[in-house]
């Protein structure tokens, strides 16, 4: 009876079709996202080094992490870097850019948005080289050249402001992502709301406070969550500009894991310990995702759109 039920066969067919449609994406996710996480996690239980041998040592790497006296410093660096860049640039500054460039004429707004996208288009190595020139501790650097011209002494920017340097250099690139998403969200707000507000005599600030911000709540929360996760794992600009130094002052978790695995000049090649560090980062990321999902009630966002798309 069951096989003959046309309703059921139809539903099974539907599932099969959906599965087939999802299959290419599924394979990609399994191969390039899930498999590396599993391999990394398993590697985290070995003491693999330059010999690439899978010697399992139980929780050895995790005990070592508890003993590693650099870890507290690196954890603090990671939190300051992630939430500092997020709060100052990726959300706040991105939002300010979006608000300002949508409040002026479209052509000028577009120009400024394009300008802010430039750092994102610049190859990271070139971008880093420019910053190294700007921040050089000698009088040949841009900032110190200006200071010397004003009769001041050069400053060792990276030693003096390691957190500031990594937040600004990453934030200037990071802000453009929020800017783009917020701009499109603001543009999707039905114009009549704003016209009505203006008829009622609302100022620009009141418009933003009472109409725009409530209506772009979801994109704001999405960017916050997404950029937290992306900042937690990003280290390439830090590696290129400060190398985590001086004396680990700008070393973040993901860079520490990278250094353990591929440290400069033949370094250490401690793949096992590095994998354990990376596994902890994956766990932190997972916990953060679940926390954001709950706190920001993303289920509601997925359920029904709150912004009318015209």
């Amino acid at each position: 009876m069951s096989s003959g039920d046309p309703k059921r066969t139809g539903r099974a067919k539907g599932y099969l079709q959906a599965f087939l449609f999802l299959l290419p994406g599924l394979i990609l996710i399994l191969l390039f996202f899930l498999a590396p996480v599993i391999i990394t996690a398993v590697m985290g239980f070995t003491n693999m080094d330059y010999r690439f041998q899978w010697n399992f040592i139980g929780l050895g790497n995790f005990f070592r992490m508890a003993d590693d006296f650099l870890i507290p410093k690196i954890l603090i660096n990671t939190l300051v870097y992630t939430f500092g860049t997020l709060a100052i640039f990726n959300v706040t500054f991105g939002l300010i850019l979006a608000l300002l460039t949508t409040s002026i004429s479209e052509r000028v707004g577009l120009f400024f948005r394009a300008l802010w996208l430039l750092p994102r288009f610049t190859p990271p190595v070139v971008y880093a080289a420019i910053w190294l020139w700007i921040l050089s501790p000698t009088r040949n650097g841009l900032l110190n050249g200006l200071r010397v011209a004003m009769g001041l002494r050069p400053i060792a920017w990276i030693s003096q402001f390691p957190w500031g340097v990594i937040i600004i250099t990453n934030g200037i690139i990071g802000a453009s992502m929020g800017m783009l998403i917020f701009t499109s969200a603001i543009k999707a707000i039905p114009r009549d709301y704003l016209w009505a507000a203006r008829v009622d005599g609302a100022s620009w600030f009141q418009e933003v406070r009472h109409i725009v911000l409530p209506l772009i709540r979801w994109p704001l929360m999405f960017i916050t969550a997404y950029q937290t996760l992306s900042l937690l794992t990003s280290y390439e600009y830090i590696l290129l500009i400060t190398q985590g130094g001086p004396f680990h002052a700008s070393e973040v978790w993901s860079l520490y894991a990278y250094n353990k695995a591929f440290s400069a000049y033949a370094g250490t090649y401690e793949f096992g310990y590095a994998a354990a560090l990376a596994t902890v980062l994956v766990l932190i990321g997972t916990v953060a995702s679940i926390a954001y999902w709950k706190i920001f009630r993303f289920r509601e966002m997925m359920a029904q759109p709150r912004i009318e798309v015209s």
Binding site: F69, A249, Y265
Partner: protein, 456 residues
């Protein structure tokens, strides 16, 4: 007629095919590295060796030829080594070179991992070549009683000083010219370098923090100062690394003095290599504390473009002085080696090419054009080498005091940590010398466990 033509054509084609099949081409792959541009001769020498080999093969009517596929990396040591390691661990002969040129410190890890083969038996086949090598160089190629590498070149490390600036600061010509001899005799010590820097600064010849500069990165150079302060790095009896507390502390205190006296910028580790070379070769910085013989060649190329005559006239050098009067100076040498990989399908042929690339004329070409030193005794009397005043002077001043970095798989970790967690921490003022020592020992013990001995 047409039959004839067709016949000739078919015959020609067949003969061509037979000929093409007859001479087999064997491809030998090699990975070579600068990272300094002038060291391209590491690659060129292998290419010339293959050319010579092919001529011999042609002459002897052999039915194969050799083709060399060689890379030359100029980005950085760390990029080069990382790429090599990742390819080596694949174990796939298609991805792995037959010949690798790298620092001798890779012998330990590569031998342990089974990536390379011992060469003692091959070496025994060419006594006329290999008995001519300086015996000390073989020490750098030895690991667990076997020889795993063929020395490719070596260099000397030294401190460079600007003769013109010292003269401008009021030093007499006799004094300036006598520095190398005084260093060799143990009369000129490390603190005298500080005195030179102070005088340069006081005379206003250099700007503050421009008197004494050093490399911004880790390197075997830093080991020289441990030796100079009377320390040791390796215990040959147990094969373990050694941290000598008093010598390490003395090094950290020396670095602190450089910064406190405004001779060296506290952010020295944040200055780029090109900026360092530009300022020293351009006469803005008085002393280059961690120089190498290859720098002299580097400064003659773009972007520095100084003539040999200019450099020879204005820049002097000597090995790193001892810390105490009467002590022996030191110059750590970092021999590069040719390695033959375990994955190579033509180990004999690869070794033959290495042997031919080690010819006196080829190695001398490399030594002179890239600022490296001879590896063979007969090079010293070979006219082109003898005629090179720089190479001769380096051999004379530094070679007698040559020492090596330990051939221990964790030696690179040692110099990396010594620099990043010690020297840099003290320079930027994050730690005092005593705190840096404590921190350094803690890191070494955490990472190396029982592989390190701590000595008072």
């Amino acid at each position: 007629m047409r039959k004839w033509l067709l016949g000739i054509l078919i015959f020609g084609l067949a003969a061509g095919l037979v000929a093409a099949q007859d001479v087999k081409v064997i491809t030998i792959k090699a990975w070579t590295v600068g990272p300094d541009d002038p060291s391209i001769t590491r690659k060129l020498n292998l290419e010339t060796a293959v050319e010579r080999l092919n001529q011999m093969l042609e002459f002897s009517g052999a039915r194969f030829r050799v083709e060399l596929e060689a890379t030359f990396v100029t980005t950085s040591w760390s990029d080069y080594k990382r790429a090599n390691l990742l390819a080596l661990q694949s174990g796939d002969p298609a991805k792995i070179a037959d010949i690798i040129i790298t620092g001798h410190e890779d012998i330990g890890p590569y031998a342990e991992a089974g990536y390379i083969v011992p060469l003692d038996n091959y070496i025994a086949d060419f006594p006329e070549v290999y008995n001519d090598f300086f015996p000390a160089l073989w020490e750098a190629c030895r690991y667990k009683g076997k020889i795993w590498g063929i020395p490719q070149d070596t260099e000397a490390r030294m401190f460079y000083y600007r003769k013109d600036l010292l003269k401008a600061a009021g030093y007499s010509e006799e004094f300036i010219e006598s520095i190398p001899a005084k260093v060799a005799a143990g009369e000129f010590v490390l603190d005298d370098i500080i005195a030179l820097g102070q005088k340069l600064l006081e005379a206003g010849v250099v700007d503050p923090e421009m008197a004494i500069w050093h490399r911004p990165t880790p390197g075997t150079d830093w080991f020289q100062f441990i030796y100079a302060f009377g320390g040791e790095l390796y215990d040959p009896e147990t094969g373990k690394l050694v941290v000598d507390k008093s010598a390490t502390l003395a090094l950290f205190e020396f670095v602190k003095k450089l910064v406190d006296l405004q001779l060296t910028p506290s952010a020295m580790s944040q200055i780029s290599w090109p900026e360092i070379h530009t300022n020293f070769s351009g006469g803005k910085v008085g002393i280059n504390l961690t120089g190498g013989s290859w720098n002299f060649a580097e400064w003659q190329h773009a972007p520095y473009n100084k003539s040999f005559e200019y450099l020879w006239e204005n820049i002097g050098f000597a090995p790193i002085p001892a810390a105490e009067k009467g002590g022996k100076p030191v110059s750590v040498s970092h021999p590069l080696v040719h390695l033959i990989t375990a994955a190579s399908q033509h180990k004999d042929l690869a070794f033959l090419i290495v042997t031919m690339a080690s010819a006196v004329d080829l190695n001398t070409r490399h030594a002179i054009s890239s600022g490296h030193l001879a590896i063979r005794k007969s090079q010293l009397s070979y006219p082109p080498y003898y005629a090179d005043v720089f190479a001769r002077k380096v051999s004379e001043l530094c070679a007698p005091f040559a020492r090596f970095s330990p051939n221990h798989p964790k030696a690179p970790f040692y110099w990396e940590t010594l620099f990043r967690d010690g020297i840099v921490a003290v320079e930027v003022g994050a730690l005092s010398p005593a705190e840096a020592l404590e921190n350094f020992i803690k890191r070494m013990q955490t990472e190396l466990g029982d592989q390190v001995i701590i000595r008072e």
